[in-house]
């Protein structure tokens, strides 16, 4: 005789599940969230491993505790704190320190809390394979996506092109997988780096490589023949890049260009060539001379409307083109004064040598070096007019310009860092050889927050970056190496 309670249970169990289709776009949202989470987990692993490397010899207990993090319950994943985040390490560690996740057969999980899903060794090993920074790291470009998280690209030993990441704004470094690109050499190699967020990154100049997983893996974008990426910026899910048709050799990859086009892609699909589109109004801009270049800068939109930001492109002929972030037509917003044309790019970077452009808090800052002297101009009307600020004291040749907060302006030069805290009214030499700075000055300076900034010595063999944490009042070198 059938138990009626059995019937009732069976009726419930056998009832058909009514399908609930996903809302449009759900898969893309899920995929994007997964990418970011994977990258955060990678960083957490990398940061943890860095501790292991330091303490591994004398503190095996630390290794054990970190190793045990490999086996997580699927429904109970522990995510890294949002303030840290991304980038996956690359170089294989000493074999004695390999913190592979323990297979369930070695440490059976408790039935209630750890249902076992077997992961193949490759699932986590790319992120846990090692955290050592490449030896003799020579940094050429640096990028930050938060007040803690950033990455630097350069050449190291033995791999060549190498990346290092930091999750404490340059206090410590760990290795990150790098594209197999090599140093800039004509049409090949990469020298510059940007990350849009903890997952999506771009190594460029002259080639273009893209990662969607915080550097764990890289894909090269197949550029049209003769095209080199000379500048690239990211904001609000978009990536914009200056594609130049150039013929320069060696590290002068951005020299002898005859025209430039601004291209854009959604960051999530930028690894595919077909995702890139030329931006109307900024197509085939004629160089005018073999030493011309173009400058790209972006203004981020308001927090409530990120896409309201603006693209600014200083064309080789001195026109300032401006438009929306998402590929709308650029229009002529103004024209920079004579003597502020971008001029020939600097060796190995693609960065123009005679005009630097940056945006901060509603103002466009233009540093002109064409006359042989440094002149700062600040436009508060979107590039229509360019009032000249008082003369900048001559401390070498300008290489890079940064603005931060409401009135901080910093110029990297071949002699040091020149700073103004009053929007260019007065200046001081903040770092120089006489004050312990690198003898050949700096190739780049940038501000991440009003107080945090970074500068790269022109002499990459110093293996260091310089950091400020007090709005440029003081700068300290940070050696890019494992600790």
């Amino acid at each position: 005789m059938t138990d009626p309670n059995d019937d009732e249970l069976d009726r419930w169990l056998n009832e058909d599940v009514q399908l609930l289709p996903p809302a449009p776009g759900t898969f893309e949202r899920v995929r994007s969230r997964a990418r970011h989470r994977k990258a955060r987990q990678a960083l957490a692993s990398a940061a943890a491993l860095a501790v292991v490397i330091v303490g591994g010899v004398s503190a095996p207990a630390i290794i054990s505790s970190l190793t045990s993090q490999g086996g997580q319950e699927p429904g109970q994943e522990t995510l890294a704190d949002g303030s840290t985040g991304t980038i996956a390490p690359s170089v294989s560690p000493p074999s004695t320190l390999s913190p592979q996740p323990q297979p369930s057969t070695t440490h059976p999980p408790s039935p209630a809390s750890s249902p076992t899903v077997k992961l193949s060794p490759s699932a986590l090993s790319p992120h846990r394979a090692g955290a050592a920074v490449a030896g003799s790291f020579q940094p050429t470009s640096i990028t930050f996506v938060s007040s803690r998280l950033g990455a630097v690209i350069g050449q190291g030993q033995p791999a060549g092109t190498s990346l290092a990441g930091t999750d404490d704004y340059g206090r410590s470094w760990f290795g990150v997988s790098a594209p197999a690109a090599g140093a800039p050499d004509g049409a090949n190699g990469v020298s510059q780096l940007r990350f849009l967020n903890e997952a999506e990154g771009f190594a460029f100049g002259p080639a273009l490589w893209v990662t969607e997983d915080g550097g764990a893996s890289w894909v090269q974008v197949g550029l049209p023949s003769g095209v080199r990426v000379t500048d690239l910026e990211t904001v609000d899910g978009q990536v914009l890049a200056v594609w130049g048709r150039c013929q320069g050799g060696g590290t002068d990859f951005a020299v002898d260009c005859n025209r430039f086009t601004l291209e854009t892609a959604a960051a999530a699909s930028a690894g595919q060539r077909s995702a890139w589109r030329p931006v109307p109004g900024a197509i085939a801009l004629h160089a005018g001379s073999s030493s011309a270049s173009a400058v790209l800068t972006l203004s981020a939109g308001a927090t409530t409307d990120p896409s309201s930001g603006t693209v600014y492109l200083l064309a080789p002929d001195g026109r300032l083109l401006a438009g929306g972030l998402t590929g709308q037509r650029l229009a002529v917003a103004g024209r920079v004064p004579a003597g502020c044309l971008p001029g020939p790019p600097q060796h190995g970077t693609g960065t123009p040598s005679l005009a630097q452009l940056t945006y901060q808090s509603g103002s466009l800052y233009l540093l002109c070096s064409g006359s042989g002297q440094m002149v700062l101009r600040v436009s508060t009307d979107g590039g229509q007019s360019w009032p000249q600020q008082p003369a900048v004291p001559q401390h070498g040749t300008a290489t890079s310009l940064a603005a931060g907060g409401s009135s901080l302006v910093i110029i990297a030069t071949t002699e040091g860092l020149v700073e103004s805290t009053d929007n260019g009214q007065t200046w001081r030499l903040a770092v120089s050889q006489g004050r312990g700075g690198p003898g050949t000055g700096f190739s780049y300076v940038g501000m991440t927050t009003p107080s945090q900034g970074v500068a790269l010595p022109a002499d990459t063999s110093r293996h260091e970056v310089w950091i400020t944490r007090d709005g440029g009042q003081s700068w300290r070198p940070s050696a890019v190496r494992s600790r």
């Binding site: 609930l20 997964a34 429904g75």
Partner: protein
């Protein structure tokens, strides 16, 4: 590498398209509203894709995640305590009960001890065989069979009590 990534994406999208509606519907029978079901299904897929490349059995992993997320949801909403009270006190049952009203049986399932609940949901409800459930939970098959027997017995008993 690019080809591999594209293949991964295609496989992930194929699994998503094939499995999401049923998974979300499966979760829907265990929670109160469509929105929560979609949230849990989306989160389960997010966690799946974050570990995608190394999984031997993505489908099992997906349901395992969803089971744990449902459990967490129950905990948050305090259903578990209520269900335990129902199991022990034999709360009066709605005479108009129909199996389509999942909430009654669901409440009883929520009240199962955790060691019995997961195998029950995965086997009877998720449709996984005993061997698969054993692999997913890291238990011997015999233990799973015993857990299923005990889970079923407890539910039958609870249904009987509720119907008295």
């Amino acid at each position: 590498m690019a080809r591999l990534r594209l293949a991964d994406r295609a496989a992930a999208e194929e699994l998503f398209n094939a499995s999401y509606p049923r998974l979300a519907g499966w979760v829907r029978r265990l929670v109160d509203d469509d929105e929560t079901a979609h949230e849990i299904a989306s989160e389960a897929f997010t966690r799946l894709l974050a570990r995608w490349s190394g999984l031997e059995s993505p489908h099992s992993y997906l349901y395992m995640i969803a089971t744990n997320l449902v459990r967490d949801h129950w905990r948050k909403t305090g259903r578990e305590r209520k269900a335990i009270a129902t199991m022990t006190a034999g709360a009066p049952r709605d005479p108009s009960y129909h199996p389509a009203q999942d909430v009654d049986v669901r409440t009883l399932i929520e009240g199962l001890p955790e060691r019995l609940r997961s195998p029950f949901l995965l086997h009877y409800y998720g449709g996984f065989g005993v061997r698969e459930v054993a692999a997913m939970l890291g238990k011997p098959e015999g233990t799973i069979k015993a857990d299923l027997y005990h889970a079923r017995a407890k539910l039958k008993s609870a249904i009987g009590s509720a119907g008295d």
